[in-house]
Symmetry: C2
């Protein structure tokens, strides 16, 4: 059993399983490396696999007829790639998955997923919990898009970024291009660009790729403070939960 698989045993998806069960489950997985900008699969390809991300970032996106990419997620170590159509027979992927920088994943055939859900109750529960986190994040993102200005959304995103990658708030480099970030936040690059000078209002300075966050204390203790929902939204709380239950990823743009 190699290093990647050994590492993966501590991922949320294998929580509350015995050492033996973990080894059995991981046996069917194949380690795969992807180069910068290489695709794991494309929208419309036959849906064959389930993936666990070991290192690197994976962009999940769709393209429209104009060639514009709409990024729905940027995944990282410990995340899984589980297309919603994976439970159907003869289905196709609903989106593209591409490595942003070099990345390593463990690949499992889709039948592996279905069979082990039935076999291991705790494995099924882990998947349901992962999905429920996922849905919470999606709901919050939708709520943000409907209630917050572009500037607030960007501010919120940068604070999250700092938290989840454990960057130094006194100064860190953006881990991916502004184009990708704009796409991920569902706005045009121009709109994103225009928010940057306004970020000062939220204690954020950004020059080129370098970001500084002043009021980092408030981030650590607090949930998102931009939302206008009845109670504070749980974006941050969810991130923290992810951090305590999962391994911290290594940020390494060079590969």
């Amino acid at each position: 059993m190699n290093n990647y698989k050994q590492n993966a045993k501590s991922f949320p998806i294998f929580k509350n399983l015995s050492e033996y069960e973990k080894s059995t489950l991981l046996k069917d997985g194949q380690i795969r490396h992807f180069e910068k900008k290489e695709s794991l699969f494309r929208h419309g390809d036959p849906l064959l696999n389930f993936y666990i991300i070991c290192s690197g970032n994976i962009q999940i996106f769709r393209s429209n007829s104009n060639g514009d990419e709409k990024t729905s997620e940027i995944l990282m170590s410990t995340d899984v790639i589980c297309d919603n159509k994976i439970y159907e027979f003869d289905s196709t992927y609903q989106y593209n998955a591409t490595a942003i920088y070099n990345a390593t994943v463990i690949e499992f055939p889709k039948i592996w997923l279905r069979e082990n859900i039935k076999k291991y109750g705790n494995f099924a529960l882990n998947l349901l919990i992962i999905n429920s986190h996922h849905m919470q994040m999606a709901e919050i993102a939708t709520e943000h898009r409907m209630t917050m200005s572009a500037t607030q959304i960007v501010a919120c995103f940068l604070q999250e970024l700092c938290l989840i990658y454990n960057f130094d708030p006194r100064g860190f480099e953006l881990p991916y291009s502004k184009k990708l970030i704009a796409s991920r936040l569902g706005m045009q690059l121009e709109s994103f660009s225009r928010t940057l000078p306004q970020l000062l209002e939220y204690g954020i300075t950004i020059a080129g790729h370098c970001v500084t966050i002043d009021n980092y204390n408030t981030i650590e203790q607090n949930v998102c403070n931009h939302c206008s929902v009845e109670e504070n939204c749980l974006m941050r709380k969810n991130f923290k939960q992810k951090l305590v239950t999962s391994q911290r990823p290594n940020y390494n743009p060079e590969g």
Copy 2:
């Protein structure tokens, strides 16, 4: 075993379970009736239960500080209410659930869910499939909101409505208020109102509460034709899938 429980055995959540397993699972459920506008639970209440809807419609929504309601879903017979926080201990509901008209549900304690996921592999798989459908719908709705005009969104919604409730396209009544529909579609009532005259462009006539859809053939065969995504979106397809796997609901505004 009463009628509601007997009926529920054919719901998607109990698919591929033996008669004995279904009966065992349903034994712990309690039938509950809710009057028009009565709440099942409120945002912030201790999260105690999982629900299966037998009849009626349930509005899932949040309120902001202005008192505006944002409806995330309008559920119907065979749907489940499964707050994403149900897998955590001592959590609270993240939204409100209210009966639009009189409704009947089966209520299960949250521990019932967790234990039976571990116990019955097929039950776990059913939940994962239900969740994956749910996520697909949410993703499509987000995509619609970002790429379609208000008029297109309303047109798409009315066509879905006709399909899923099996209404007569030559003339049917809106099953709930325009205020609620606007909230469900994430727009202001005024914006919704302004789209109505423009619906003619999409072959839809609406006068008061009465809706007529001209090009119903295209609805039946086709997926959503407003989207600008790479391939046609799967909103309709998903609805159809739901229809074949589940019982047709009875529309009855009077209760």
